[in-house]
Symmetry: C2
Subunit: 508 residues, 2 copies
Amino acid sequence: MPYLLGIDVGTSSTKSELFNLEGESVAVAQKEYPIISPNVGYAEEDPENGWWQALQDTVKAVLKTSKIDPREILGVCVSGTNACVAVDREGKAIINAIMQLDNRSVGYAEKIREAVGWERVFEITGNRIASGTFLAPTILWIKENMPKVFEKTYKFMVPTGFITMKLTGKYTIDLSRCSTTLLYKIGREKGWSHELCKILGIPVEKLPEAYISKEVVGEVTDEASKLTGLAKGTPVVAGCMDTVGAAVGSAVLEKGDAFYTLGTLGRFCYCMDEPKFDIRFINICHAVEERWLAMALMQGGGLSMKWYRDELASYAVEKAKVSGKPAYQLIDEEAEEATVGSRGIIFLPYLSGEKSPIWDPYARGVLFGFTAMHKRGEIARAVMEGVAYSLRHNIEVFEEAGFSVQKIRMGGGGAKSRLWRKIIADVTGKAVEVTKMLATETFGDALIAGLGVKVYRSLGEVKEMVEVEEELEPDTINHRRYSEIFKVYKNLYMHLKEDFLELSKIGF
Amino acid sequence: MPYLLGIDVGTSSTKSELFNLEGESVAVAQKEYPIISPNVGYAEEDPENGWWQALQDTVKAVLKTSKIDPREILGVCVSGTNACVAVDREGKAIINAIMQLDNRSVGYAEKIREAVGWERVFEITGNRIASGTFLAPTILWIKENMPKVFEKTYKFMVPTGFITMKLTGKYTIDLSRCSTTLLYKIGREKGWSHELCKILGIPVEKLPEAYISKEVVGEVTDEASKLTGLAKGTPVVAGCMDTVGAAVGSAVLEKGDAFYTLGTLGRFCYCMDEPKFDIRFINICHAVEERWLAMALMQGGGLSMKWYRDELASYAVEKAKVSGKPAYQLIDEEAEEATVGSRGIIFLPYLSGEKSPIWDPYARGVLFGFTAMHKRGEIARAVMEGVAYSLRHNIEVFEEAGFSVQKIRMGGGGAKSRLWRKIIADVTGKAVEVTKMLATETFGDALIAGLGVKVYRSLGEVKEMVEVEEELEPDTINHRRYSEIFKVYKNLYMHLKEDFLELSKIGF
């Protein structure tokens, strides 16, 4: 019986999941590794003992659990988070990977702005200049601060490409991750930008060869076979950005398809069939030809609810221990008692600054409008509503830019909450379809591998694999009410913008 | 052995406390009664079965506990909250008392503004036009909405005067409570304003006779003696506003003396020896001749911390049950771990609107500036700091108006927290003296009774009765840091002012 293997290299763990061709999960394994922070603001991981070891362990676990013959795996696809890995000619990471959370290259984003100008960078790469999210500032940091490492680096890679290299021996990067280097032309004409590389002093030779996600770039080597248990010769595709995996796993493949992942962070992706870029979003090549994704990155999502649970709703954590119900469910039950708009409490979910659409690293969380009469369930509901407003804020910008959003496919851990789903639909005024599978990265990876090895021959076939669990229509009355409150929500940020900055100026 | 009896008629309970002439509490009793709310925004109490019954019960309890001969009580003084009591010629309340929390007369404040103008009202009464806090709008409400009650009313009284009348048979009001009628001239020249009474259509005859707080207005009647156990003929002074009792009980009697009561609400009082009024404060006649108090009323105080405890810090409430430590102490312990400025969290304590100095009924609570890294102890500390900023905000206005504040005498339940005391000193930059007695109303009442019956013959003698438990000097470095944050605190309100109003406009 044939299978496909999806692997997601995340920030805190790697997950390997085996699917049969009907899209059913057959076995799954996950292994965590630590974020290493040698200095304040630094966030590193160990590509060898962290990611590569986790990959070996989880793949072996999956093979063991499923008891399948590894030769039945038709293809492998690795997706992943963003990080900069300096790799030598022997395929070894020279230093720890510098993760996208790492702050050290903030000043180098500024240098790129000065050297090239944001307009020209946007023209070439379709994206804004931002550190962490994009690779170029980190490469420049290495060049200036670790010149010997820079010199010794054969290729600057991303986690996906690094793991794919470990499996196949090929130094590659896929087009979705090319899109987050800030060095690649992502429009109809593709390729590394020699202009940018020259201005920034990054030799093009130090960048890996680029492939579309679904393209088979190599086969599992003898050595990798021994380490992982995969069959030698198993085809491996170029892989993709984690969000692209999730997009495919949610069947967001045609123009106008949109999906929202309510994970720790929030991600809203909109599928385009032409390279029509807006600078307020992250624009990337999709896993298939002639498709692009415009992404809105929201820093507050499940993160907001997790913080609320841990710092303000300890009652739920305690009660969960005795009741057997998860704390989030207990919080939901109280939030359900609250009414639309939480009697005037508005939550700004900028607990870690905000990216799309305001791009303000100084923004912070705000709980606005409570009175002595408010109950904690109303605060919980306000947190959910605030996260929904931040999504609507982005959708509004999409629509202003001419992208029409009809309905939203929703996944991520936050989608487990039926109340939150409903709030998302009512706040945005869009129909929401919750996918049966909530974590769709590895599923999407498997589908991409399937496209690569031609198990699936069309996007239509892929779309049929994705099942929807629930469809919600927005309630008109609630939506009208939320629209009034949403105006206040937007004003709050405008009115507090300089106070956020001031906090940073006085040293917080 | 001689004693003095202080009685405070509060919003939720009446407290009777017996003191010996050394100022030691000999016996105390307290009895609660409910707030009655027949309509949204209404807040009433039953003067007969509530206050008067509670007075009888608590006085009897005090006499029983102390086992003293009632004839040893040299004098009685009643202080109290504000409310409007319509009383007939038989000394009976015709309807329930309308409490200062009651919102029904908001529109009548507007009518006074239109009919007289705020400047003229300020000129005559030394105060701003506000409903609830002042009696006149409520009297007008009764006149227009309950004309028969208005007609039948012999005197419009306040709780203090009502209880004093029950004890003595005399219909009186003291000068501090005259000050909160908005119908009385409180400067050097005193008396009911015939001008205002005429314009507003309130017959002066319906207002009680006014006396300075410490003046003996009558003696306990035979009937009252039977009901309370007090000796017939015991002298009763005119009584005072609760805050005036607290001022005397904190020895705030000379020009420049200032005190801060951190109770459910916050009160800052500044003693003046001339009638120099600023419209941002409540200006009242003190309990002694040639003294006035300027009062700043802060809606958030202990109320903020209580709300935090009940809605956001349930862990402390739960832990208190098993640890035996009060929840507030557990919260304090976590807040002590946080650093000055709570790493940028700023709390606006407007959980019930705000009075001084911004006078904005639409203002609401705000928690500003948290990130995913913040811990709950930092939120608790931010709540304390926010309350301290609101005090500093008022002190700043006092100093702008030319009142120099040297040090602050502090009392109220919030002063139990050593951390909060310290924060108050560091935020304001003023020395803080915490009185040994934290609830000083009944103690002050007893001292006023003592002045009235000439047990004490000078203010100096009264001042010597008040003991200070702890003196705190502000820390210069912390104060400088808080001064930077305080600027942001003030800006937050300015920046959010219209959003508060907008919430109310959209129906919250």
